[in-house]
Point group: C3
């Protein structure tokens, strides 16, 4: 809005905000001392900083689109234990670029894509289930989940974690997919109360697995509370 | 209730729900890809999944009774950092079984026992103190706390962690018990704001230690907020 | 208040309470079994226990003053993932002493100093920014952040972590300071949604860096919510 435009004029590093208490910022010339402590390759003069209090899947899938649409690389993906009292993660994603305009573009695309990527996040008073899908995985999904680049890749997330376990089993049985990763509270998450399955394969199969897991996951989550609602508008 | 019975007819894996936003689920034939990623022994065709947003001690002590009462083994106990904004853990417990009926039985016993095991969880606006006791520890307590199987075993938990430290000192001085484990925010917990003492010994001594720690812990927790209340009904 | 005085008469270990649901306790003679499990040097017969649900920086800087003002050493600083649903840490700090009166003094000084050290913690609905400063770092800051003892030392903390990254860059560019540490959600924090910079140097330079970072951090945090407010009264 207007307030953010005024802020962007005052602080040129500020790019904007998005769902999940997400914010986007750029640094044109990262201080060398800080760059070294952050472990960022000196070839990246500029960085884009993108992350929020609530959500990791939505931000990672948005960053994946941003990497495809900009001349940047993914430098870091860090996942705090957050969601503002909820069961999941927050996020901190760093894009590296040679030019600040590229970093800015990556952050802008990411922020704009959040409305879409929050679409298959369904929450209620007891927890959440989340689904993400892409026809073609790029560098962010590779870095976060070991997704094979260029192939279709989906995730199912269930919280409390018990729901995520059965969703994983439903997903992998629903179609011929290659399971790429499985995470749970003490392995591969930041002690979140989630179980996460990542899988690639034929685009239709990945979608079919997600849709099957979504049906079961939403019913199970309903047993603990009110009917889970999409945070924005489903896209899968 | 009725809604859960309808859900169980629709999704045969669903067993039920319990306190602490806990849920129980079974899988008759775990997918082999998923089983391998979860590190589950192939001898367990079926698994029982049991866990919640709030509580680890209550679920672990309930699962300990369930293991005694069913033909199952404890495969995993994972403790997310949760309690829905509180200071403690959530839980994800996996039972392994050869037959799904055994897994189901373990999950059912666990869910039903939660009313009892939440009895000595006392919460207020500032934190919680928790006490658990069994006359005879079994596999769940052994896996979670290294409790000697077959012996009486108790825990004291205080949050914020400072309260747990003094409770631990009071417990160990109140009777002749063998201290088995001590956990704190950066060691042995999932970065929860708790200090936990686990101890075994003569059944009367274990109870005496718990009762002494409970008296001090509840008074100290009261100094930070309202009078702590039992979540259900004390059993120790 | 009166209630706490009554409690202190009943439980002689109780010292008092402070901001952030903080509590202070002493143990005159730590049980040897517990001392060993906690990894506390036998030379410390007594310990002071100090920590809370909300805040790590305020408690660590307060403990740093307490160590200077008492005949104690810092035995442990542990940082749970807490802040009662917020983005940051809680705290558990253990002072070691030969005499319980020294432990008590350290805890008392710490509790009293919290009003000051919460002064540059600014919170809103979306997160927080925090600043701490000392003209002369002592043992607590050395243990927590590797701060050089005897030199001026400051920290900037931003949550969500994206805000902390730009604040770090602003701080290090604003004056000639030596960067001592940088922490982020997956390195050096307890999976909090914070980025933290610690720096030492000339007292004026450290303050200048903090003031520059504070100006930017507060504006960025405002873009996500209401105007951030000091928890008590700014001291820097």
């Amino acid at each position: 809005g207007e307030m953010n435009m005024a802020l962007a004029q005052e602080i040129t590093e500020f790019v904007g905000t998005g769902r999940g208490n997400s914010i986007g910022i750029v640094i044109a010339n990262v201080d060398p001392q800080l760059r070294e402590l952050m472990g960022i390759d000196p070839k990246f003069r500029s960085i884009g900083i993108f992350g929020g209090r609530t959500g990791a899947g939505p931000q990672i899938y948005a960053a994946d689109e941003a990497v495809k649409a900009s001349n940047t690389e993914i430098v870091k993906i860090e996942l705090p234990r957050d969601t503002e009292g909820g069961a999941g993660h927050g996020s901190l994603i760093i894009f590296g670029a040679e030019e600040v305009s590229d970093a800015r573009r990556a952050v802008q695309v990411s922020l704009e894509d959040l409305e879409r990527t929050f679409g298959d996040v369904y929450t209620n008073t007891a927890g959440h289930v989340e689904f993400q899908y892409t026809a073609r995985a790029s560098e962010a999904l590779n870095k976060a989940f070991d997704a094979p680049v260029g192939k279709s890749f989906g995730i199912t997330v269930g919280a409390p974690a018990a729901i995520g376990v059965i969703m994983a089993d439903v997903a992998v049985k629903a179609a011929t997919v290659d399971v790429v990763c499985y995470s749970s509270p003490s392995e591969g998450t930041s002690f979140t109360n989630e179980s996460i399955l990542g899988f690639s394969g034929d685009s239709g199969a990945v979608r079919q697995s997600i849709i099957a897991a979504r049906e079961v996951g939403m019913k199970l989550l309903t047993s603990l509370g009110n009917k889970p609602e999409s945070v924005t508008k489903p896209y899968i």
